[in-house]
């Protein structure tokens, strides 16, 4: 605790330096805002994902999951009647898009209403209101002609009857219906795999609480037979949910079920599939969180800088206070109280700003998740108290941690002795070797952490330690560079050049922190920039190898990079027979159960003369396409698959096929950036031998020699018209669409990168404002000696530009290191893929230019203030 007078000193000091205070608050606010908003956006997406999972999984303990063609619906009967699984519910679910509400997607949950109650409680009687009639079947009392009112609740049986008897009848949550302007009895048009279906709202679901409301948002509940029609899967089920007691009898039942499973089916614990997807999303979110924390780390530099300034400025005062009997502890408390004050105000502002930022970032996060992983409709920001608490802890904690060193420094001020600026700066320069050694130690430690097999978290921990190491080495490196630059500056600009370079060295205690903060931010910009450019280059070259046909036809998919919808078989035959088509190769992408979880399998009908030109890390695809005589079982796996599951050439991949489990031989590992979960690729003939699924996800068409591509595409569209909506894209359009998804994926990264540089910019501005305050007399003397305001402006700008240049030049090795770690460690551990690194000189130069620009811009205002200050005012302060 500090006394009232000391508190007064703290408050008045802060009030007298509004710029310093404002910039420190802004710095910490931005850092907290970025961290909190990413956390909230991630949490909102995670919660939406989890609710969506719960909505479709319900209270099931286990699931019988089918392969590509699902499960025969007869197995449901077998389960209930022959195997005695009393609590079993068949499900067929899939994603559809609202035809008349662009961008709105739903999960259609096809269920057996009679078996549902124990599984999904919100479908129970009290929550359901049916269409158009009261319980007695009469019209709504009191409703005027033409006016419709929602009827009161009616009994469950009549609702169930409506669902079962009316094809396309659905139940919708009341808030969703209200949002879409739907009432019971209305029609809702949706598109499933490009085919338009008309559904009818049979009843509204009244969620009992907020959690149920969120779970039901985006869910259309229908009868299983309607779902079979919507998804074109007559007689098939997606899965069967089970509730099995965790006892002897339950285990015996599971054992019986496992033995009776149809080929290709699998018995899994509920949520296992969602778990795999969640894991993928978590890796993506980890990357965002790490990048957001970087902004906070840069913000910490700013706080450290501010608190150091405030202590150094007040050394005479602190010395005087010590002389009149204020203890070291009280001085420490004084500085820490000020820091806490700044931290609390900055954090509060950061939380408010973060909430504002969340909505924008959430849109970017959701879009990426939709592009890469899962159809997710996140429409609410989840105000997670834990995320907010973490924000408070981060903001106040980071501020106090950053203020610790200056607070300890303040306690060292000897009573009555006022240490000169020069002595302080000499002390700072003497610290440089020690700080450099510490930085070197951290660099070695960081490299050590990266070498450990410690997953994504370990990768980021190593990365952060390395970045802090770089920051600590920066002052020594900056001094070394300045030593080289000094003669050049002196020759070019004479004494003013000397002043500019020496000014940075002379104020090392301040300039070093600003340079280090900017260096980290620019390193991040360079590192992430190189990673994205390398990645893009790899994707472009991968697309060139993958997309070898002239035209691609597929059903519209709701997941950006996945073709989960299928084409009608008749349509495929018609497309292949279109004049001008030389060859039509098909592709089929399916999720196949395997011992280690579901596996994305892609079956390709490839012309052996023109196989995809993938780059192989090991082995080749020759045996898969070249010697495919219909008896082979060779597959190739993507690099992420190989990295995640430890598959190698010669190893076997076990998959549940419709003929039972089969070990497929791995012939090659190829570089692939289409799926971070990894894919197993096989020839269509092999696939057809093991699975009964004859559906096609997409058709790759090679035009006959001399055929007009535009005319061919028009002909293909014409052939498909009226049947099923299809996407016909030229090779080039598909490539562009793929790259568009790629660019969208990294949009959020660019936003975070910009925010980090913004925090560093504020740090630089704060440093320069403080320097301006301290150098007022020196500048006044120069003005008295005859330096014009313009020359002062030039001097200060040259100094700030030089600081930016130093930070930029030092950021080049830092950025290259960061890029290397992102490409070879973080990407590999997060997504399983690697790529050749492409350190384009343009990105490095852009980084240096960004650094100089940020510094010069930050210096404009302080330089202007210094230039226009009346020398007499500063001299009078003597």
């Amino acid at each position: 605790m500090i006394g009232r007078q000391l508190a007064r000193i703290a408050v008045r000091h802060l009030a007298r330096h509004p710029w310093q205070l404002g910039l420190a608050v802004l710095g910490i606010a931005l850092g907290v805002a970025v961290a909190v908003s990413i956390d909230l956006a991630n949490e909102s997406a995670r919660r939406a994902f989890s609710l969506a999972t719960v909505a479709v999984t319900g209270r099931a303990t286990h699931q019988v999951v089918g392969g590509p063609s699902g499960l025969p619906d007869d197995f449901y009967r077998v389960l209930k009647v022959e195997l005695g699984a009393r609590l079993a519910a068949p499900v067929l679910s899939g994603d559809v898009a609202a035809a008349d509400h662009p961008g709105r997607t739903f999960t259609v949950l096809g269920v057996d209403p009679f078996a549902e109650a124990p599984f999904r409680p919100y479908l129970e009687a009290e929550g359901v209101r049916a269409a158009g009639t009261t319980a007695g079947g009469s019209s709504v009392p009191g409703a005027a002609a033409g006016e419709r009112r929602d009827p009161p609740p009616r009994d469950r049986l009549s609702t169930v009857a409506a669902l079962v008897t009316r094809p396309g009848a659905i139940l919708v949550a009341r808030p969703t219906a209200r949002e879409l302007g739907l009432r019971a009895g209305d029609r809702l048009a949706v598109r499933a795999a490009g085919i338009r279906r008309e559904l009818m709202v049979a009843g509204l679901l009244d969620p009992a609480d907020e959690a149920s409301a969120r779970a039901l948002d985006g869910l259309l509940v229908t009868d299983i037979s309607s779902a079979q029609e919507i998804f074109g899967a007559p007689g098939r089920l997606g899965r069967i949910d089970l509730i099995v007691a965790d006892d002897e009898a339950g285990r015996a039942l599971l054992d019986r079920i496992a033995r009776a499973l149809p080929p290709g089916a699998e018995l899994v614990a509920a949520g296992a599939r969602a778990g795999t997807t969640a894991q993928m999303i978590r890796a993506f979110q980890w990357n965002l969180t790490a990048l957001s924390l970087l902004a906070l780390v840069v913000g910490m530099f700013l706080i450290y800088q501010t608190m150091t300034f405030s202590v150094v400025q007040r050394r005479p005062l602190i010395g005087a206070l010590r002389a009149i009997g204020v203890t070291r502890g009280e001085i420490f408390a004084l500085v820490m109280t000020e820091a806490a004050l700044i931290g609390v105000v900055g954090t509060a502002a950061g939380l408010a700003l973060g909430l504002g930022l969340t909505r924008g970032l959430l849109a970017l996060v959701t879009r990426t998740i939709n592009d890469l992983y899962f159809v997710l409709s996140v429409r609410d920001v989840a105000l997670d108290p834990l995320a907010l608490a973490k924000g408070v802890l981060l903001g106040v904690g980071a501020t106090l941690a950053a203020a610790l060193a200056p607070a300890l420094e303040a306690t060292g001020a000897p009573p009555r002795v006022v240490m000169s600026r020069g002595a302080l700066e000499s002390g700072a320069r003497r610290m440089v070797p020690r700080v450099t050694w510490l930085g070197g130690g951290l660099l070695a430690g960081g490299a050590g952490i990266l070498a450990l097999p410690a997953g994504i978290a370990g990768g980021f921990a190593g990365l952060f330690v390395l970045m802090i190491g770089c920051a600590l080495v920066a002052p020594a490196a900056a001094l070394g560079l300045l030593r080289l630059l000094q003669p050049v500056a002196a020759t070019a600009f004479g004494t003013l050049g000397r002043l500019a370079t020496r000014g940075i060295v002379a104020s090392l205690s301040r300039t070093a922190v600003a340079i280090a903060a900017l260096m980290i931010a620019v390193s991040a910009a360079i590192g992430v920039g190189i990673m994205i450019a390398s990645f893009r280059e790899a994707v472009v070259s991968w697309l060139e190898g993958t997309l070898r046909a002239d035209v691609y036809v597929s059903a519209p998919s709701l997941v950006g990079n996945r073709s989960d919808a299928t084409l009608e078989p008749a349509l495929v035959a018609r497309l292949a027979a279109t004049p001008g088509v030389a060859r039509a190769g098909t592709s089929r992408g399916v999720l196949v159960p395997g011992p280690g979880g579901p596996v994305q399998v892609v079956a390709l009908d490839v012309d052996p003369a023109r196989p995809p030109r993938w780059r192989f890390r090991d082995g080749s695809s020759e045996a898969v396409w070249g010697r495919d005589d219909g008896t082979g079982d060779g597959v190739i796996v993507s690099e992420p698959y190989a990295n995640r599951r430890g598959a190698r050439v010669g190893h076997a991949v076990r998959l549940h096929t419709d003929r039972g489990d089969h070990d497929f031989r791995v012939d090659g590992v190829f570089y692939d950036y289409g799926s971070s979960a990894g894919v197993v690729v096989m020839s269509r003939r092999t696939y057809d031998r093991f699975w009964d699924d004859r559906r096609v996800s997409g058709v790759a068409i090679e035009a006959a020699p001399g055929a007009d591509l535009g005319a061919l595409m028009a002909a293909l569209r014409e052939r498909a018209a009226g049947d099923q909506e299809v996407v016909v894209r030229s090779n080039r359009a598909l490539r562009e669409a793929s790259l568009e998804i790629f660019d969208r994926t990294f949009a959020i990264t660019s936003v975070l990168r910009t925010l980090t540089v913004a925090v560093a910019f504020i740090g630089m501005l704060a440093a320069l404002m403080a320097l301006q305050l301290e150098r007022a007399r020196e500048i006044a003397v120069l003005r008295t000696l005859g330096l014009t305001p313009r020359q002062v402006w030039g001097l200060v700008t040259a100094e700030t530009g030089l600081m930016g240049l130093l930070a930029g030049v030092l950021a080049v090795p830092g950025g290259l290191m960061l890029a290397g770690i992102l490409v070879f460690v973080i990407n590999r551990r997060s997504f399983g893929w690697t790529m050749p690194i492409d350190p384009s000189p343009a990105i490095l130069l852009q980084g240096v230019a960004l650094s100089v620009l940020a510094a010069v811009l930050a210096g404009l205002y302080p330089a202007w203030r210094m230039a226009r200050a009346l020398p007499a005012d500063a001299l009078r302060d003597e």
């Binding site: 004494t495 002043l499 002379a506 007399r777 000696l785 330096l787 020398p871 007499a872």
Partner: protein, 243 residues
């Protein structure tokens, strides 16, 4: 007959203090002849340094005009005033105010460089002046390696190096011990008189008053001329008038 080196015409200066205004100088008029050494004395806060700053052109009067060598500083803009100052005025501060980032010799070269005279002749002149102030061997040292007296000797050399017509000195011995102060003052007096410079000095010190040709006391925002003590080294009879 040459005109006055410095001429103040009805100069006034007021400062804002919150909602009120405080007059530091009012209706001050003064003419200083070329080569004259004028000393301003007065109590702390009386406005001596303000008057010096107005003559230097680093502050602007609220009313009246300030002419140096016939040039009306109040009619010049900031840039032109600065360029005039760098050519015609040398300044010696109480706290020396050497540029800590520059060596002793570089401090001397700075005014020359600003005037475009940092050529070989300029460097020779700077070195010659350093010899004259007894610091010929300290040219490469940084200011913080020098004692207070040494620093003030460097400051005097810096004020003279570009050959200005007017030297302004604000408490040049204020922070020095008596012996060092006397040596510094003798140096300033000797060099200025030798080169025929006009000097305006602000001081509290009796020793400084001893070198004055004329002495003015700043009292209640006005100048009151004081008699020069008998036996002082000042040259009497220079044309001047006081308000």
């Amino acid at each position: 007959m040459p005109g006055p080196a410095v001429e103040l015409l009805h100069v006034g200066k007021t400062y804002r203090e919150g909602d009120s205004e405080r007059a530091v100088l009012s209706d001050v008029s003064l003419a200083i002849a070329p080569g004259e050494i004028v000393v301003l004395v007065g109590r702390s806060g009386s406005g001596k340094s303000t008057l010096l700053n107005l003559i230097a052109g680093i502050d602007r009067p609220t009313t009246g005009r300030v002419l140096v060598d016939g040039t009306d500083l109040t009619a010049l803009d900031e840039d032109a005033r600065t360029r005039f100052r760098r050519r015609r005025i040398g300044f010696v501060f109480q706290f020396f105010n050497l540029i800590p980032l520059l060596s002793v010799e570089e401090n001397l070269l700075l005014p020359l460089e600003l005037n475009g005279k940092a050529d070989a002749a300029g460097v020779a002149r700077a070195r010659g002046l350093l010899e004259r102030v007894g610091l010929g061997d300290r040219g490469a040292s940084l200011p913080d390696r020098l004692s207070g007296g040494e620093q003030q000797r460097v400051a005097i050399a810096r004020a003279l190096v570009h050959d200005p017509a007017l030297i302004l000195a604000d408490e040049p011995t204020g922070t020095l011990d008596a012996e060092t102060a006397a040596a510094v003052l003798a140096l300033l007096d000797g060099l200025a008189r030798e080169a025929g410079k006009t000097v305006v000095m602000v001081t509290h010190s009796r020793e400084v008053v001893g070198v004055a040709d004329r002495i003015f006391d700043v009292q209640r925002s006005r100048l009151v001329e004081q008699p020069v003590a008998p036996g002082a080294s000042g040259r009497s009879g220079a044309p001047a008038r006081s308000a």
